[in-house]
C-alpha cells in the first residue's frame, strides 16, 4: 500500500527546513538590531509580589534602561527542569550572553547542568553557593549582607515595642533565614536587652493562608513588631498591620501596604548591583565569581523610616547605619549563646559581616523563641 498524502518522512523534512529558516531569521535579526548584550532574568514567582522577585525585577528594569542592552524576562518559573528550558531558550533563541536565574533553588542541579554546555554565556546566581574548582567557571554567586538590614530593623523594633516581644514569620530554617532572625533580635537587644523574638516557620517560601495564620498566632502571643522572611511579604504586612502591630519590611519597600505601621525595611538594592555587573560585561571585563557586599557596597538599602518611628529610634538607627556604611560591621559579638545554651562566641570574639562562618549558621541565638527543626 502506498501513501500519496503527507508521509512521516516528508513532514519531518519540511519541519526541519522550516525550523532552520526560522533559526537563520532570528540570528540575523539579532545581529542587526543591537550592539550591547542581551541579558536574561528568570523569577520563581510574579515579578510584582512586593518581595523577592519584585526586588530583582527592579534590578532588571534598571538594566533595561541602559543604552544598547536588551532584557528578556520570564516569571513563575519553577525550580525544576522548567528553569533549564527557560535558560536554554533564552540562550538559543534570544541570544542571551548574561543570565540572572534569581531563585535559590535554580542553582543545584539546574544552573550547574546547563552552564558547561554554554561556556560563552555567563550565569549569575543570587546566593552564596559557588565554589572554586567544584562549579563551572562561567557561573558566579553574588549576595548581600541583608542580615545587617534586619539588624537595623531590629534596632528600630527594639525601640518601638511595648510588650518586649517581637515576631518573625520565617519560611525555612536555612542559614540565610536563621541569620536574618538572629540579626533582627541582636539589633533589638542592642537597644533593649530584655527583648525576645518569637519565630514561626511556615515551611514554604510562599503560602498565603499559612503566613496569615502565623502572623495571627504571633499577634495572639503578644508580639507587637513583626517582620518576615518569605518570598512575598504582602500578606504578613497587611495581616500584622490589621492586628495593630508595627511591621518591618523585607526584600522590597512595603510601606504602601501599611503606611502608618511600617517602621523601616531591609531591601535589596539590585538596580545598583545589576547595572554594575552589566557595565562590566559591556566593557569587556569579568565579573568576580564570588561577589559580596552590604550597605557600604550598595548591595542593600533601608526603606525610609515610617511616621511612627520616635526621634530616639531614628537617632540610633542613623548612627548605626553610618557605622555600617564604613564596612566591617560586627553584629555578632561575644559572649553569645544559642537558645539551647550552646556557646557560639567567647567573650572577645566577633563575627564581622564578611565572616564566612555566618553563612553556615544553623542555630538561633539566645532570646529567640523557636527551634530550627
Amino acid at each position: 500500500m502506498t501513501l500519496t498524502g503527507p508521509t512521516r518522512r516528508r513532514v519531518l523534512k519540511t519541519g526541519a527546513a522550516f525550523a532552520g529558516a526560522l533559526g537563520t531569521l532570528s540570528a540575523t535579526s539579532f545581529a542587526a538590531g543591537q550592539d550591547g548584550p542581551t541579558v536574561g532574568f528568570i523569577y520563581v514567582g510574579p515579578k510584582d509580589d512586593f518581595g523577592y522577585n519584585q526586588a530583582h525585577a527592579e534590578g532588571a528594569a534598571a538594566v533595561k534602561a541602559m543604552a544598547g542592552v536588551t532584557v528578556v524576562e520570564e516569571e513563575n518559573v519553577a525550580e525544576t527542569v522548567d528553569v533549564q528550558k527557560s535558560m536554554e531558550s533564552m540562550i538559543n533563541f534570544d541570544g542571551a550572553a548574561l543570565l540572572f536565574p534569581t531563585s535559590f533553588g535554580y542553582f543545584d542541579p539546574h544552573i550547574i547542568k546547563v552552564a558547561p554546555g554554554h561556556p560563552e554565556v555567563r550565569f549569575q546566581h543570587a546566593a552564596g553557593l559557588w565554589q572554586e574548582g567544584v562549579h563551572p567557571s562561567n557561573v558566579g554567586s553574588y549576595f548581600g549582607y541583608i542580615g545587617l538590614g534586619q539588624y537595623l530593623n531590629g534596632m528600630v523594633a527594639g525601640h518601638m515595642t511595648r510588650s518586649g516581644k517581637l515576631g518573625f514569620v520565617a519560611a525555612k530554617p536555612i542559614p540565610q533565614v536563621l541569620q536574618n532572625i538572629n540579626s533582627f533580635l541582636l539589633g533589638a537587644r542592642e537597644v533593649n536587652p530584655a527583648v525576645t523574638c518569637q519565630v514561626i516557620f511556615t515551611g514554604e517560601w510562599s503560602l498565603a493562608v499559612k503566613e496569615a495564620e502565623a502572623t495571627n498566632a504571633l499577634a495572639d502571643a503578644g508580639c507587637d513588631v513583626i517582620t518576615c522572611h518569605v518570598d512575598g511579604p504582602k500578606v504578613v504586612m497587611e495581616t500584622a498591620a490589621g492586628r495593630d502591630c508595627f511591621v518591618c519590611g523585607y526584600h522590597a519597600n512595603q510601606a504602601p501596604l501599611a503606611p502608618e505601621k511600617y517602621l523601616t525595611g531591609a531591601e535589596w538594592n539590585w538596580p545598583g548591583v545589576y547595572t554594575r555587573m552589566v557595565r562590566t560585561v559591556i566593557d569587556g571585563g569579568t565579573i568576580p565569581n564570588f561577589d559580596r557586599g552590604g550597605l557600604a557596597e550598595g548591595y542593600i538599602k533601608m526603606s525610609p523610616l515610617g511616621p511612627a518611628v520616635t526621634d530616639a529610634a531614628r537617632a540610633r538607627f542613623e548612627a548605626t547605619k553610618a557605622e555600617m556604611t564604613k564596612g566591617g560591621f560586627a553584629a555578632y559579638r561575644g559572649p553569645l549563646m544559642d537558645n539551647t545554651g550552646k556557646r557560639i562566641l567567647g567573650p572577645n570574639e566577633v563575627f564581622v559581616e564578611t565572616d564566612i562562618a555566618l553563612e553556615s549558621m544553623n542555630y538561633l541565638v539566645e532570646g529567640v523563641i523557636g527551634a530550627t527543626s
Partner: protein, 308 residues
C-alpha cells in the same frame, strides 16, 4: 509584660480562630461540590474556579470600591465556569473528570493572566462581625472577628441540607444523581438539571475564592490558593455528600491547620512539619475509622463516575 499572656490557653483559642478564619473557602467549595456531585457529576475544576473567583472578586472590588460587588462577580464567574463544565459534559462520551482537570488549569491560567494588573493595588475588604466584643482580651476579639460570609456559609449548608431532604428541587437533583434511567422515566432532563447544578456549584466555589482575596488573607496574588479547591473536593467524600457534615469537615480542617503556627507561638516548636501535616493525617484517620467493607461509599450518588 502587658497582662495578655494566655499560656497554653492560646492553643484552643487559636484552633477556634483558625477554624473560623480558614474554613470558609473549604466550606463554600465543598458545598458547591456536594450540589454538583449529588446531581451525578464530579467537577474537579473547582480549584481553578476558586482561583478565578479570587481574582475576579478582587479585581471588581478594586475597580468599583465595593467588596460585595466583588463577591457577586466571583459568583457570576464561578457559575460561568460551572456552566461550561456542565455543557461540555452533556455531550456524549465526555469524561467529567478530564473536563474538570482541564477547566482547573484553564481557570488558574486565566486568573493569572487577567490578575496581573491587580497584584499591587489594594482592594477594600469585606466587613467583619466583631463577635468578641464581650471580651477584653485582644486575642479573643481577634479570634471571633468573623466574616459575614462565614454565617452565610453555615446558612447555605443548612439550606442545602433542607433542600435535599424536603424540597422538590432537592428531590429532582437526587433522582438525576442516583439514576439517569429513573429520571428519564419520570420525564426529567438529566443533562439539563446536572448543568444547572454544576453552574450553581461553580458559583459557590467562586464565592469561596472571593473570601480568600477579599477577607483572609485578603489580597490577590498567584499563590493565594494552596490547593483549597482540590482539598474541598476530597472533603465532600469525607463528608459523605452531606452539607451539614461538610460544615463540620471544613471547621475540622481549618482548626487543624491552625495547630502548627499556634504550637510554635506558645513555644512548642519541635516537629512543625508534622503539625502542618495534621489536617491530612486527620482526614486519613477519620476515613479509615469510618470505612467498612460492608458499606463502602455510603451516601454516594449512584450516577457518580467514581461509584458506578
Amino acid at each position: 509584660m502587658n497582662g495578655t499572656e494566655l499560656g497554653l490557653w492560646a492553643i484552643p483559642l487559636a484552633i477556634l480562630g483558625g477554624a473560623i478564619r480558614v474554613s470558609t473557602p473549604f466550606l463554600f467549595v465543598s458545598l458547591g461540590e456536594v450540589l454538583t456531585e449529588r446531581s451525578g457529576r464530579i467537577n474537579l475544576g473547582l480549584e481553578g474556579t476558586l482561583v478565578f473567583g479570587a481574582m475576579s472578586g478582587y479585581a471588581i472590588a478594586c475597580v468599583t470600591g465595593l467588596p460585595w460587588a466583588g463577591v457577586l462577580a466571583a459568583a457570576g464567574a464561578g457559575s460561568l465556569f460551572g456552566l461550561v463544565h456542565g455543557l461540555v459534559c452533556s455531550l456524549p462520551r465526555v469524561n467529567d473528570i478530564a473536563v474538570g482537570i482541564s477547566l482547573m488549569l484553564l481557570g488558574t491560567g486565566l486568573a493569572y493572566f487577567f490578575g496581573k494588573p491587580f497584584i499591587q493595588p489594594v482592594a477594600p475588604d469585606l466587613p467583619a462581625l466583631e463577635l468578641g466584643w464581650w471580651s477584653d482580651l485582644p486575642q479573643v476579639q481577634a479570634a471571633l472577628r468573623v466574616n459575614v460570609l462565614f454565617p452565610v456559609g453555615i446558612l447555605a449548608a443548612l439550606l442545602l441540607w433542607w433542600m435535599f431532604r424536603a424540597t422538590r428541587i432537592g428531590l429532582l437533583v437526587r433522582v438525576v444523581g442516583d439514576s439517569t434511567d429513573a429520571a428519564r422515566a419520570m420525564g426529567l432532563r438529566p443533562a439539563f438539571i446536572r448543568t444547572l447544578a454544576t453552574a450553581a456549584g461553580g458559583a459557590f466555589a467562586g464565592v469561596g475564592g472571593a473570601y480568600l482575596s477579599l477577607f483572609y488573607p485578603g489580597s490577590w496574588n498567584e499563590g493565594i490558593s494552596s490547593g483549597q479547591g482540590l482539598m474541598a473536593v476530597a472533603l465532600v467524600i469525607f463528608a459523605r455528600w452531606n452539607p451539614i457534615a461538610c460544615l463540620g469537615a471544613a471547621l475540622l480542617f481549618g482548626g487543624a491547620g491552625a495547630l502548627g503556627p499556634a504550637l510554635q507561638s506558645v513555644g512548642i516548636p519541635d516537629g512543625y512539619y508534622l503539625f502542618y501535616a495534621m489536617p491530612y493525617v486527620m482526614t486519613l484517620g477519620v476515613l479509615i475509622a469510618t470505612s467498612s467493607p460492608g458499606r463502602a461509599m455510603a451516601g454516594a450518588p449512584g450516577e457518580l463516575s467514581i461509584s458506578k
